[in-house]
């Protein structure tokens, strides 16, 4: 009977730096404005690695609905201002700051954890987010050969809509979602991750980072001792990337309000973590820091499906999107085609990655005609709700991908038959170096 407010499983305390709070083992002196602590339990509620030994920060009952607060994925390193210096100098050893792990009662290895996302909201007092292009030498992105410099756009949230002073004349509702959610790997799963990723690193001949090995620096393992933290730092899988066994940083834009996600359980209690909240994202999240990144609150219902992995034949997560995705009608998506011939005229063999890169470039060329800078469009395609499809993957040697751009996010008419009129679009934020030159 009566009012039953939803329990907040963990709260974020933005009032003081993490190291001034009880129970936190300081391993860094960076000044952060966003840290993740349990205000009610004094337990540390963060982790930034995947490891089965990270202790749980809270317990959630089977069939319970809870609210979980999350900081933004960088832990507050990026500010609401007009310089991309913070993006250029971001410390990626610290990311992603996740909330968890939570013990889900009754969950055992082999079960499936059904995660129903009831809502995702930004904090009322932080109605903004950011989209960044990383410097090619510190993070990079999908188009870093062409756009190697850091850039940034700040987005203001106006209810379910957002707009940016850095990318004018667009406005859209967010397809709000977590970029990361998943259960902890078992020791065996973790060992497999380290095996295969280290093999890729060892075989690398490119002049770029191809995967992130375990990194003790700035590894957090929650409320545990130094020895355990050191173990997590040495063995723990980085939160970049998503992986088939637990989903993790899958960055799927459709895991939004109302979606049901079915996650494999690898350890007792599931040890579920979530974070990297996005106000919006485009398929591919192409600039890497490409969604509209934000701090916020996610409301989740948890249900354990016993022996679900065998029953569903599950090796990777599956999901059902929710019924409230923005919908414009198919005829409102201006769609660009790209093929696996790169910008140097080289023919690749059924390479959907190359094709999607070309598809993005075709879209940039098109939108450039209205007065946007390439970096503005690069940022926009990263975070607006674009639809990236694999259209053809068998007609040798060309893969074909498409990118559907919702025309209704612009306040001017972008149909092809309408001759473009250039508008003064200002620009996105760049680094102080670039702006002075």
């Amino acid at each position: 009977m009566g009012i039953k407010p939803i329990r907040t499983a963990l709260k974020v305390d933005f009032s003081k730096p993490v190291w001034e709070q009880p129970g936190f083992h300081v391993r860094s002196s960076i000044h952060m404005n966003s840290l993740l602590l349990s205000s009610s339990t004094d337990q540390i509620t963060t982790q930034n690695r995947w490891h089965p030994d990270i202790p749980v920060c809270g317990t959630i009952a089977n069939n319970e609905i809870v609210k979980i607060e999350c900081v933004d994925w960088t832990g507050g390193q990026i500010k609401n201002n007009d310089s991309a210096d913070d993006v250029k100098n971001v410390d990626l050893t610290r990311v992603h700051y996740l909330t968890g792990p939570f013990k889900i009662e009754t969950a055992e290895p082999g079960d499936v954890l059904l995660v129903e996302i009831q809502d995702v909201q930004p904090f009322d007092n932080q109605p903004w987010g950011f989209t960044g292009v990383f410097d090619k030498k510190n993070g990079g992105g999908f188009l870093d050969d062409l756009y190697p410099e850091a850039a940034k756009a700040i987005w203001d949230f106006e209810g379910i809509f957002c707009s940016s002073r850095h990318i004018p004349h667009v406005r859209f509702p967010g397809l709000i979602h977590p970029g990361i959610l998943g259960c902890a790997p078992s020791a065996e799963v973790l060992a497999e991750w380290n095996r295969r990723e280290s093999e890729l690193i060892a075989a690398n001949t490119q002049d770029r980072v191809v995967a992130l090995a375990p990194q003790p620096l700035n590894a957090y393992a929650g409320d545990t001792d130094e020895e355990a933290t050191a173990k997590v730092g040495k063995e723990g899988a980085r939160t970049i990337p998503g992986r088939p066994e637990n989903g993790g940083n899958c960055d799927i834009k459709n895991l939004s309000r109302g979606s049901k996600v079915y996650l494999p359980v690898h350890v007792f209690g599931a040890k579920f973590s979530v974070g990297d909240l996005h106000f919006s994202e485009g398929d591919g999240e192409i600039s890497f820091c490409g969604a509209i990144e934000m701090a916020g609150i996610i409301t989740i219902k948890f249900t354990v499906i016993k022996d679900g992995m065998a029953q569903m034949g599950m090796k990777s997560p599956i999901y059902l999107p929710g019924p409230v995705e923005p919908h414009y009608g198919p005829g409102r998506y201006l769609t660009f085609e790209g093929f696996s011939v790169d910008e140097h005229g080289k023919q690749h063999f059924l390479d959907a990655t190359v094709a999607y890169r070309q598809t993005c470039l075709r879209t940039i060329e098109y939108l450039h005609r209205y007065g946007y800078s390439d970096y503005q469009i690069y940022l926009l395609l990263s975070c607006a709700p674009i639809q990236g499809h694999i259209a053809g993957i068998v007609d040798i040697p060309n893969a074909c991908t498409t990118l559907g751009l919702p025309m209704d996010i612009f306040d001017f008419d972008i149909r092809p038959e309408i001759p473009p009129v250039r508008i003064d679009m200002g620009n996105c934020a760049f680094t102080s170096d670039r702006m002075q030159s």
Copy 2:
């Protein structure tokens, strides 16, 4: 005033073999039951190569709406029966049989040809189509390492719906479309195609065909002399694959009724061709002969946009889908995730092709539980209106792709929380060799 029926620009004559008809230069003795002739003009209306010298078979006015008849892409090689022998032995030097090229009045290089697809229909007396898995040694497909044998499913058309005796318990409306449409390349564009694809062939070290070089055998060039035909055979680009400069065999399922396609024009008169009609296709068309292939009639409105390529900044086609795509609601797509770790546990670097292959395998494993054979599901995913998305392409080293399967095409409940019940699903058609063994 009065009734203005739409002109049929070209008709297909199924009544007699092509070589018995005037104006056709026989270069083959294969017995075909479907050949493409202009019944009204006695001009040969087919081509199966891209080349600027292939003579036009008809003229269409700017702003005109016409109907164009097309044979199936194999020219009738595949029969409505329960053996995949025809698929196994298909002659791929002959494909694709396209209708065209048509001269579009007033079109010049640099223009854009707006192609509005008013309708696509199968022939009333051929209410069926086929989906095939090619033999790995003759065509292959996206999953040919795992499924190397030929297989086939025949689909019966019941109005806008289709069903198959070879894949029971599914039924869906077609997202009917042409797999190929485009304007002829200029000599320069053609030369570029040959350069880059021959380089790929020359560099190939895989034990598989990576691209198709020009092939004089069975090349048709329409109503022209032997010398010109020989030139087309020697230089003409194969209709497999699609290419960025003209789209061609892009196999985009959304170019369906009501869509508007904006095509670059490279030669005077555009020389537009169309063919490879599909009753339905899934993103990727993964089994290669993967759509529901059919003969039929396409109704198109043509509009020339002068100097459109410069005005639109166009390097590749763009399009707007139509407003009548089947729509199920986002919450009705059961969606599978895949990452760029292959089935041997090898980690690939941001390879969306590998990720999509894994996504398909996850779906096959899931549907297998209901009693379908792997080949049945492979065929189904090729032709049912599945949504293949590039979800994440920046979280090194894992690309993440998704595959959305519309649950409403099944007549049983495939939601994950419902324990599966195995059904006797029969099987698809295989070759006579396999069926005897």
Copy 3:
């Protein structure tokens, strides 16, 4: 095995007048260009009344899919020209010309007949339809107090799209459907219809026709003798209106391709009839002859659900729409509000009919600003896929209804914030009297 074309249950013969064909009992000398005969069986296949004694014209098996051909509802009285004289003088004693009744094998009273509409198509050689405003004195319509004169628009079909020389600058895909489908009434149901409608007629004090009593003149009863025909003429219910017991002339625009309609069965064999095909219609079909009326072919799958009426608690038909309705996105419907205060300032009590009339008038006023005549808009709202909703029905004394107009059917921008520019819209067809004056 092999090709299984769908059987055409009944064909329309347009080649000669009905009275020159065997088996037809001529009761009229009107010259018609469209009459409905079974070309294969020489049985008369039409009826234009509902009566249990009308003999069946064909038999359809349970679970069978058949094609059924239909004339337009007036039997060809309306021509493709630019005069509304035919509309003004239409003979409404003859309508509607239905195809049927068909015996559905195994169907008995108390069963439910599941009618799955696989497709609806116009005839290839009749790619046009008409929308009419009836003269107030011969048929009338929803707004006949304001628009009492006859008017007409001819629509050309271009694939799934239509456009009209009489209402320029609009174009839309059809939500194609039958205006009438249903099973025959039992004698008891028919008696109830006659009782209640005759009571309404008897109590009528308005200066207008409120219901149509049985009308022997021009009643057809199929292939039967004069006595039986006289009985049908004397007792048979008019096909205007739809009625709760069998649906009939429900004029529901969403009974389109892919829809499943569950119909009560009142007599042995169901005696199913269908007709009044519409290429498109707006909610309300406000001008009465308001859909885009056409002749054509409907493909239906029939399934008998034994004892379905009791099982479903069914008193009136229910249905599931199909998955291929045109969809524009909710934000693309410009929506008008209307309340139950009439144009004379009179307050009505929760009268949704009055409210919807006002809603239509608000829409006419809005579109009038672009240069359309009121009659053009009246015709357009009758046949374009507008959404008419009952929004509020309890806030005494005002009912509130809404009318959603899809903006994407216009080739100019009708958003409210864009100042309107008047265009020369020509006009719809009027009667020769009016055009001379």
Copy 4:
């Protein structure tokens, strides 16, 4: 630069009764737990009548986005418990409690006020709402002849979803919206309202209330003197119903997040008010207190369109819905038909109100088979996102309306071909009288 939180134009103070707060002129001794005061300005922020003389409670700039807090429409009279006594005894002289009127800068008579709804949210600490059936003698409802007793369902909000202990096995996302928004009438408009509604009252011969005359009892007029309050009480229009000139209590479920509403301005400063927030509502809101009524916060952007009424030809509000409405696909709406023949067998003439009542009854009969009580279904149809359409309004004498019920809100399968299984559904809340008997 930097964070720009959205200003809250007015806040609700739930901490103390309204009469203990400065500036409120107490005219009632009812104990209420929800009253509407400006916590920052000490001005009274409520009104419950429409009158041009009610003083403004705040000022909003043109193009400003603000948050506005609202109590529930009854001012807290209905409690979160399991008795419908509060519903039975509700004091309707007090309703609706609106927030406003606000002066919108630059707005003048003849302008149009564009109201963009950015978001609507319940209060975090009040995550629940209610749906009620009024007693026939105190309020009544659409089906009060059949369901004359008071009843109630409490809904718990779980993120964007809601469920009810009183109506189990349903769960759906809210199409959250304000039931009332509008600008104040001018004196002339108000006089017209009073004229026409008093005429209806004077002519009434039914045994029911047909309209609400001005009611001094419990009229609030904001922060003004007794004389002015008395004038408002004597002349002010009741907030029930909506009216064509300003919209008001239109109860249109689609005025949800992202919608743009164009409102006529009748007085200087517009004097905009809003309230009656609904978490969800079905077309018709049939039980009168039929939406899921709640207190909450609405975020709105205001834009003045100068001289908009003439430019738009506007007599009543128009709107564009937002792009995030729940969407299930058309094939997921089980749809019921109803005609204007009432449950006593009486034939009405094109009466859409009678038809819609029958449509609702058909739906109740259908859902009853699963074990729900009629009152539970009556409540459910009032608040779940059902689609009520006017299908046919011209086929004399039967109007036909339809009701589309989204099947996906149920956790069991309600398709007609699935035989129903009765479930123990408990019941909704009734009055203590009824429950004792």
